[in-house]
Amino acid sequence: MYRKVSRICLASEPNITHFLQVSWEKALGSGFVIMLTDGHSAWTGTVSESEISQEADDIAMEKEKYVDELRKALVSGAGAADMYKFIFSKESGHFSFDKELKDVSFRLGSVTLDKVANTAEVIRELIGYCLDTISENEAKNEHLLKENERLLRDWSDVQGRFEKCVSSKEALETDLYKRFILVLNEKKAKIRSLHKLLSEVQELEKNAECGR
């Protein structure tokens, strides 16, 4: 069950905010229920899937595109004021909505709404739904904040370990080279001493040869 409540202004009462509630089961295109209220009275009506298909045919629009237009007009909320005109007659209950383009407007859809007998109950249910949605969003918000903090801690932890790894890699390289140089220089010193000894022995041998 999906539901969306948005503010609209009626062409006949532009200074009074009205609220439009649209609710549907799986998909908007499968039909939906409209509820309109001014905070004092409420009217409700249903638009069936066949009526949606018929309307789409009548205005020569692909059904999917038409449902998308319905979504923008009745469900999206933001921007509806600029692009859509809502007309409602309390006497007849006729509710219609037009899409307004540059210099032209065309009828997007219409439905007859019946006045609700127990308006107070409908308004209570609407306010209750809003409060529940607020609570759910606050809980989601809380959860996301905690997730956010956890992710930040995790990132900070890995970043620290990465920095340590970079430092320790540099330190390892330096350390190994230093140790290697010490051991290598020992070998070089040995080679030098062997060379010296060899030269001395060869010199001695040469002198002995000369003496003989």
Partner: protein, 39 residues
Amino acid sequence: CPSTKQHFAHEYDCYGDSYFVDTDLDQLKEVFSGMKSPS
């Protein structure tokens, strides 16, 4: 004793690495690990 000392001094450097016998990964790691920190 002096002779043993002399023998080892002839065969190994002051870090315990042999002058004559080829080293390998394990031996060199052992020599390095026995060295005090160069810094």
